[in-house]
């Protein structure tokens, strides 16, 4: 029997794209029930849209026929499901124990200075968003951070400058 998804919602759903639907359909074959696909669907939409808007959230809930409230519970539980727009590149900056011992504070200060952003902010040009993470599992090469899918280790201010310009150039 279908879940009762009620009509009285203010936000309207976005129609998912054909690619998103294809990927979600694939995930559906791997899970016993639709509710379980929720997280994967959120990841798929984020991959395609960069983040998960309210309209996308409703779109997924409608497509999977699960309550929006439940899906929002999942989306907000995971810090890396973005419910607000982010820059083209998301910097996941580790400020946990090992990186802290190895001086991540000053590295962060450098990033802040170069991009003029703090944690949770996106640079004016929309290129970078800075987010702290507790650990990236690479403590022997601290301080570390990720930019998009790439890991950057043994960070120094100089390295930060070249990483930033690399990503800027890559886009141009």
């Amino acid at each position: 029997m279908s879940q009762q998804v009620i009509a009285s919602t203010a936000t309207k759903a976005r129609k998912l794209s054909a690619e998103e639907i294809a990927e979600i359909e694939h995930e559906m074959t791997l899970y016993p029930d639709k509710k379980a696909v929720g997280l994967e669907a959120l990841k798929i939409v984020q991959k395609n849209q960069g983040w998960v808007s309210d309209e996308s959230l409703f779109g997924i809930a409608e497509y999977l026929d699960i309550p929006v409230a439940d899906l929002e519970g999942v989306a907000t539980f995971f810090n890396l499901v973005y419910r607000e727009p982010v820059g083209k590149n998301v910097i996941l900056f580790c400020d946990s124990v090992s990186c802290w011992i190895m001086g991540c504070e000053s590295i962060k200060g450098h990033i802040k200075q170069q991009l003029d952003i703090d944690y949770g902010q996106t640079s004016e040009d929309g290129d970078f968003t800075l987010i702290p993470v507790p650990c990236l599992g690479d403590c022997d090469r601290a301080p570390v951070m990720m930019v998009g899918p790439d890991m950057h280790r043994n960070l120094t201010p100089e390295k930060i400058d070249s990483i930033i310009s690399d990503y800027k150039n890559k886009q141009d």
Binding site: M1, Q3, I6, A7, A10, D33, D54, A69, G73, T76
Partner: protein, 906 residues
Amino acid sequence: MAKIVIDGVEYEVNPDNNLLQECLSQGLDLPYFCWHPSMGSVGACRQCAVTQYRDEDDKEGMLVMACMTPATDGAIISLEDKQAKSFRSDVIESLMISHPHDCPVCEEGGECHLQDMTQMSGHNYRRYDKKKRTHRNQYLGPFINHEMNRCITCYRCVRYYDDYAGGTDLSAQASHHHVYFGRHEEGVLESEFSGNLVEVCPTGVFTDKAFSGQYSRKWDLQTAPSVCVGCSVGCNTAPGERYGTLRRIVNRYNSEVNGYFLCDRGRFGFDYVNSRKRLLEPVKRVDNTGELLADDEIKAVIKEFSREGTIGIGSPRASNESNFALKTMVGDENFFAGYSDSEHESMAAILTLASDKTFHSPSVREIEEADAVLILGEDVTNVAPRIALALRQSVRNKAMDLASESRIPQWQDAAVRELAQHERSPLSILSPAVSRLDDIAADRVIESLPALVAMGHQIANKISGSAPAATSAEHDAAAEKIAAQLKGAKRPLIVAGSSNGSDLVKAAANIARALHEDGEKAAIDLCLLVPEVNSIGMGLMAAEENSLGVALDKLSSSAAKRVIVLENDLYRRASKSQVDSALDKAEKVLVLDQVTTTTTAKADVVLPVTAFSEHEATYINYEGRAQLSFQVHQCQKMAQPAWRWISDAAHIDDVIERCCSEAPGFAKLRDVLPGGNPFIAGMKVPRQSHRYSGRTAMIANVNVHEPKQMEDKESIMSFSMEGISAQKDPSIMASPWAPKWTSNQSISKFQDEVNGELKQGHVGSLLFEKTDSGAYFDVPAATVQPSGKQLHLALSYQIFGSDELSARAEPIRERMTDAYVGICPEDAERRGLAQGDVATITPTGAPVVVCIRTGVKPGTALLYCGDANISPAEFTGFLEIEKSAARATSRGIANLIVSDFQEEEI
């Protein structure tokens, strides 16, 4: 039984329960948050830690969560152990880190489980001096306030709202210190049972919004045990009054009926009692204006109406006493039923079945025990909401069985749900449209009413060949499956009701009879719902041939000269022309009512009647359970119980006594009166708490002399703080309170065991004697098919709006819709109707809003009459709808919560 040792004392306990439950059952104080007596354990809050020892030599012991540990034989535990105590005080200290400590401005203060547990755990000094996390609150509709900063993340709200009540729009969001409980966006909480969040939440996150606007502390409210008059379930309530107005309603525990929960109609639908539109003075009509009646005039009126030629029309929303007084006044043969003729026919069938040994009318608790359910044509959520909540629990019996097989205790809530996943006991719904219980239904068939009747008989015939046969070829497989499910069940349950005629009731009875014949089963659970609080009580008093139609005919034909209408708006019960001609023809019309209605406007004399909270009364619920509702407060003006206006009985007990001996079927009514000697040492039970404040000052703005306390000569309760505390006798206790336990959760102190009956309690008195054994009903002859543009008619009901009185309450009005007709998209298209259009319905020509729903049977129209002046009695079987040029009505159907509302294409 198992023996366990708690702090050196041996206790006999039930090994199927957990330690927390057993500690509470034994009357011990052990703090907890996430556990709830009807929702089991999840071990989330860590507040109920106790020390458990391996054996007598073990001096160290280890910490266990009492709610997650079974009470196994030989267990040795300590609540008082140092490490357990310090653990509990540390846990609460961390739970309280971000709590705003705003008790003085919090509605929960003074009846707060969090306050109680904080004190009990010994956390009395705040060490955390950092910034607290804060949240934004949401608008959650007219019933519930949201104040998330107070949250201690016990998860009870979502466990109740989602898991227990089947809601889908409240969830736990985010993680660690910023967990948030709310909707995905602001908006009305959609569950019909959202009000229980007020009591489920251990602190003040979810509070009663209507109460907030006219707030009083629990101890300042005058209260008495009452019974909800919103529908025929008869949930037990505790209304609270202050300064002459009714302020709020909370749940009152009754192990057989409502347990710990009410529906939102019952909780928020009372403030018509305070309304200015109440009738509060005796009035006679002189040239179309009302004129106050003097005492001697009233006497003359009563004398005039006591003469030959007077008939009385009773009321399903009035007490047994008032109906009986009217019946006595006009004579048995002149007392007529106060519901529609169609309902009269259904009631006749229901009352016949009530005395049949084959059937058992299950209580709400018993409904939860069913392991296969068939709902035949009744929209339970909107007709008898509390029963829908019970049906939600019944489908979990499969999960409980699976848990037993896997040796998982039933109270292990998360584990049992994880194990069962989507496995449920079978619940089948046969109805003309989708319903709010569909998400738990294994099978559902959407059909026109005549087809549902046929299918009901077909199921009966498939269960037992001796039941008369009917065929509905289309649904043969479904009928086969449902028949097999019911046959295979240990405790099958059939639910039907009077909402849509007697044929469905009879079909349901045949199914139950077939089950009884087929198996070795004792009486079969047959739950027949009726619409109003005392439909059954009034039904028992009116003779079968004395229907409303006959009464109106008598008046129209001048066979009767005068009529007394008891608490009833006849225009809701019969067609306008019929009532008009009867009342116009009658020489004199006397109406007794609480509120002004179309009928009171037609009366020559109107006598004001007290509301449910202003008088003591008995009502009989759907199962024949008589219950006593005490008076909570005094009516400020001249309203009196109807029986007092029309009879010379001095005392309600005399009326009840006479009713017991004179009215057939009421012999056991006297059992509901408080037994024994209620006057201990000459004292009564106070309605005010021992902390009731301001008594000497509360009317100082009017008069600085403190008047004598109002006397109550009627009941064993007094309008006072003094007397024998109700804590001594839970059967007359409205507001549970025990040392260290100020909230409603203190109820465990008054139960014989957790979830058990109240000590010395009273669950009501079942009136029906099972004496007959009837026979199968015949299958009704094939009905006439709709012709031309006609659609099959199915009456539809709404929790907010269908009940006459609660529909006048402000919070309820905010949730109501206009009268509407629900049709499927194809039928709408054929008539050129769009969503939200206004249409007129034939035969009456009344305007209704068009509601296009994908889950309505094609060829059927659902008609919801709302509080508009459309009498369902105007229609018989069919309906025609035509587009109207009229503008959309004020309220429209924006508040309608259904799952199949057709969205406009974008």
